[in-house]
Symmetry: C2
Subunit: 408 residues, 2 copies
Amino acid sequence: MTRSWVPGADESLFGLDNLPYGVFSRPGEAPRVGVRVGDHVLDLAPVLHDEVFAAPSLNPFLARGRTAWRETRARLRTLLADENGHAGARGSAASTGGNRAVAEPRLIPLDQVTMHLPVEVADYVDFYASLEHASNLGRIFRPDDEPLKPNWRHLPVGYHGRAGTVVVSGTPIRRPCGQRMPGPSFGPSVRLDIEAELGFVVGTPTRLGERAGAFEDHVFGVTLLNDWSARDIQAWEYVPLGPFLGKSFATSISPWITPLEALEAARVPGREQDPAPLDYLRRNAPWGLDLTLRVDLNGETISTPSYRDMYWTPDQMLAHMTANGASLRTGDLFASGTVSSEGAFGSLIEMTWNGAEPIKLADGTTHAFLEDGDTVTIAATAPGGIGLGEVTGRIISATDSTYTATEC
Amino acid sequence: MTRSWVPGADESLFGLDNLPYGVFSRPGEAPRVGVRVGDHVLDLAPVLHDEVFAAPSLNPFLARGRTAWRETRARLRTLLADENGHAGARGSAASTGGNRAVAEPRLIPLDQVTMHLPVEVADYVDFYASLEHASNLGRIFRPDDEPLKPNWRHLPVGYHGRAGTVVVSGTPIRRPCGQRMPGPSFGPSVRLDIEAELGFVVGTPTRLGERAGAFEDHVFGVTLLNDWSARDIQAWEYVPLGPFLGKSFATSISPWITPLEALEAARVPGREQDPAPLDYLRRNAPWGLDLTLRVDLNGETISTPSYRDMYWTPDQMLAHMTANGASLRTGDLFASGTVSSEGAFGSLIEMTWNGAEPIKLADGTTHAFLEDGDTVTIAATAPGGIGLGEVTGRIISATDSTYTATEC
């Protein structure tokens, strides 16, 4: 580990080997790009003398491409490295002490800033890449069929979600209204759920009609994502064109995007696939990721699913998504689908087996699906003491007085 | 009809009662907003002295809302009205002759301009609103089941598409590659199809968590849309999460957005619905539209489906899409789904009954699905001599040398 002079950074999950990017503001100031070090955010535009970081989203920086991402990361590691560390450019004009003098005045405690949506999301795609999750959902939604559809082991099944309702962690989640059975009737969802996922953020675009190149040339980094799901709405609407209003009311992401470079130590080959995928889905490099997620409900950990055993890896998702010539744009976000592993699930519908076996919390409450006032927080850690920023959200009532629209 | 001094306008489908908006450029000049009059485009920024029309998309103008849309249209009608017409502000300082003097120098023949994508598309949603189309596709894709799923008459079924691959009319459409049965194998689609649709463009946004208000307060206008579809890819991938790569390679729209105000004479109550929809889907005003589409394949008309008998009207689609609190953004595009009416279909899969009954053209060729080199053009007319701008596209080979990417 390279040590940093930033107080607390080395002991945190946000040391020099992490350095995730986000968009922050202080009261009365414009949102701009920063990088997280420990419990501080470094204000990048003045430190790096680069107006790309004065933008209210990461998109202009992401559009610069992989070489720029690497160079920026190397400069930041130098700026933030301790005098006794090994990341500094020894003997260079910019000494470590000089680096600290430049950066320290631009280091702001996290509790003094507001975090914003880090990326202006172009298209949002959600996959369905966990064998355990897809099998469990198949058993629950289609009890009389084979749990996996015939295509599932041949391609990473996915669909487009609503980019405009991707929100930053902390945004209150209004319980959605919708049409559901029996009846059908219209009213507040009574089966509100989470899906704990990883999201992958695209930096480098492609031209219409061409397939994407290597995963690491296009994808900048990783975020945590909660794909809130109204199971009653989804179950009634989803045939034959897929999930729509059961998902589109909100998708929360972490304010922090961890660069792929920070996850080198987490890379694993990915789960064995049978049958072997077609050539265009062949893995050319290990992009499985040894990440452990943690799902907390009202402050109590209820599941710790592992990402490393996901069936489809994110490089395969990218190859599939562009195999037909669909172009990528800077800001595209694609997600893994619910991360469920053997015995550790990423959704309540699995943890409670469709509500039949409610979760009992230490505070004495039981939870089948989400109640108004419930707070869900998803976090994750990677080898090497790396944390992904948390994604959290609290459920507010469908009839909350914040909203002026017609009630359900 | 109010007459215009613009040569040919009154005899065209683009007279004073139409006035659709688009984004055009001349060689070496920046794209900007214009309005179509006959076979000319009026360059709006200098005529109206308003920089909102110097933008490379309609979005900034759309964001101004309905009152601004109405005022602009009224000003344009005054500017373009003939001295003997009745649209001019009689006796005002800006006499009709003065109006002509202002506008005429900014009138550019269409054959001197390039048209661009008129709207920066935020989210793209595609519905499935024709009873005939949904029934036919059900029979073809699921021959052993009821053609309509149980939810179909209760809600307008829809899904999100790929906003980043919405392209302007005239963009060449590369035949997509993809995974399909038997096998599965990977290669160029052999069942490439069209879907003739109407697209509705949102101007006025909503807040997350709130439902949309009246249709005409949010929706600016209408465009023609071709939802290119690779039926072989779609058939294999679409369970259980809906169409993805079978659609996401390209969606073409007309360069012209016809304001709702131009379609007053086309408004009809909409087809009777049984069962009556739930309250949140109740029609509060007639937003069925008496439009007739025309589908041409290689210059020959092969179908003339009617929009007026669509089961779900666009106001119902908007109400449904936002019923869960999903926010709208300026630039959102939602489409009707294939417009098929009794005996006049908007897709080849219906016209040829899944390829079994190929279309014979006058040139002696037969067509089950689209061949490389085929050109499809969709047009539409409304009562009152109103035309929607055409949407056209030509299929180019999956291995066309324009592209540098890996071949299939």
